[in-house]
């Protein structure tokens, strides 16, 4: 019996700020003020959500049935690197209707400002007004070819191509927002040219943050059809990978928490379309 195990260390060791600094900043803010820029954001839900983001960064929840998973993965990276930058940015955005994060200027559209705070039936995202704002603003700012025919936000667009992210857009977004070096193998249609996917991941997980672009429909089936389109649908952050008796156990972060599943080496190869390695 062979048993191998690799665990990701604490992510992004070069941090720009700490959780303590961010919480101190938040404590000094008037948390009852309403914003004319964001008519549907409730101040209490907004600031409670920011506090939760700091205390439990892994609780970021991109919402049920939305196309926000890539922004969720990005949030995970940002909260590890610069929590103070995140809360300052969110507070500026709330107060002034525009803000700068790592030299990226955000001036969201009126439609997005009106939509934040109104998303419903998305699970706990319904009452997380800061996360609603954050995901909508990111989707509004960063565009890739998947967004070509749907660039302007309309009601319900959080579930459509307006919010979708392709691999190149994700790499660009992570590079710009985190200011770190990003290396990706794979593409939106063709799987990465990697001889042994397990070894490739195993080698990188300790010294880098590894994000995967996967076809979630294979492991999370939604109908009983045997023929399925082989396209990637989901971004996750790989937290742990181990091999035991030819079965691979993946532990990854996506919707507000960690998921563990066992798959064969063949399925691992089948589901992965992109491996994104991010410098710590």
């Amino acid at each position: 019996m062979s048993k191998e195990k690799c665990i990701a260390n604490d992510l992004l060791s070069k941090t720009n700020s700490t959780k303590k600094e961010a919480l101190e900043f938040l404590d000094k803010i008037d948390q009852k003020k309403e914003s004319t820029h964001w008519p549907n954001i409730k101040p209490k839900l907004f600031y409670d959500n920011l506090k939760l983001n700091l205390e439990k960064p892994m609780s970021f929840y991109p919402g049920r049935s939305t196309n926000f998973c890539a922004y969720g993965a990005l949030s995970y990276l940002i909260m590890e690197k610069d929590p103070l930058g995140y809360v300052k940015f969110m507070n500026d955005l709330y107060e002034k209707g525009e803000a700068i994060f790592n030299k990226n200027n955000f001036k969201p559209s009126t439609a997005v400002m009106e939509a934040a705070g109104t998303l419903k039936f998305k699970g706990v995202l319904d009452i997380r007004h800061a996360e609603q704002m954050w995901f909508l603003v990111l989707a509004d700012k960063f565009k890739g070819y998947l967004n070509f025919f749907d660039k302007k936000f309309n009601e319900g667009d959080e579930n459509t191509f307006w919010a979708a992210t392709n691999l190149a857009k994700f790499d660009r977004m992570v590079g710009k927002m985190c200011g770190t070096h990003v290396k990706a193998v794979g593409s939106d249609l063709i799987k990465p040219w990697v001889k042994n996917v397990y070894s490739y991941l195993e080698k990188r997980i300790d010294s880098n943050i590894v994000s995967l672009y996967i076809n979630n429909r294979i492991i999370h089936k939604k109908n009983h059809d045997k023929v399925k389109f082989s396209i990637p649908t989901h971004f996750i952050i790989l937290r742990q990978i181990r091999k035991e008796n030819n079965m691979i156990t993946l532990r990854y972060w996506d919707y507000g928490g960690e998921t563990e599943m066992q798959i064969t080496n063949r399925t691992l190869k089948k589901i992965i379309f992109g491996i994104i390695t991010i410098d710590k």
Partner: protein, 200 residues
């Protein structure tokens, strides 16, 4: 030659026009299976709060089960053949009510329930729960046509519907409450249904 071309054209036309017309044989699945479906919902409602989980049959024969065991920090997703001993071992290991879940699985197989899960949603910022069951009904399905499932939503409290029987967001609004992008229709004050191409 022209007749031959016309024949091929007609076949293609038939295939394309038939492609969006999967028909569910029964128009009244809930009433026919009411007792079994309500029983499944009640069993799940009793088991889930103790140790949260969801169940999905991922094959047409209702033999392969995808079990999601949900805790505050980790969701474990494992796939088993229902007859495998590994399933019972796993349930036991993570302190699930093994007998209760096996009973639920049997009932789901008998009633063709392909998925059961708990949903959280919010009304006036307060958490609410509902249970969703997806059923794989007998259908007439043409080539290229998508599959069809019946999804039942069991709310805990009375819901509000418009004159067409569509589920509304609240008493005071005409806004429809869509679950996973689907409009739901009234069966009782607390139970509604939709027809969908995905079981979850």
């Amino acid at each position: 030659m022209i007749r031959h071309g016309l024949f091929i054209f007609l076949i293609i036309y038939f295939l394309l026009t038939a492609s969006c017309s999967t028909k569910i044989i029964s128009n009244n699945y809930y009433q026919e299976q009411k007792e079994n479906l309500d029983n499944i919902e009640r069993s799940y409602e009793k088991l889930n709060p103790i140790n949260p989980f969801s169940l999905a049959f991922t094959d047409k024969e209702f033999r392969i089960i995808s079990l999601e065991m949900i805790s505050d920090t980790l969701t474990r997703i494992y796939e088993f053949n229902v007859s495998e001993k590994r399933l019972a071992d796993t349930l036991l290991k993570y302190n699930y009510d093994t007998a209760g879940i096996y009973y639920l699985l049997r009932k789901m197989q008998q009633t063709k329930v392909t998925w059961i899960n708990n949903f959280d949603y919010y009304v006036n910022d307060q958490p609410q729960q509902l249970i969703i069951l997806s059923i794989k009904p007998v259908t007439i399905r043409y080539i290229f046509s998508p599959p069809k499932y019946i999804a039942l939503a069991y709310f805990r409290t009375e819901q509000f519907f418009d004159e067409k029987g569509r589920l509304l967001d609240s008493r005071r609004t005409k806004q429809l409450r869509k679950i996973k992008g689907q409009v739901f229709y009234k069966i009782t004050d607390r139970i509604c249904y939709t027809i969908t191409e995905k079981y979850r």
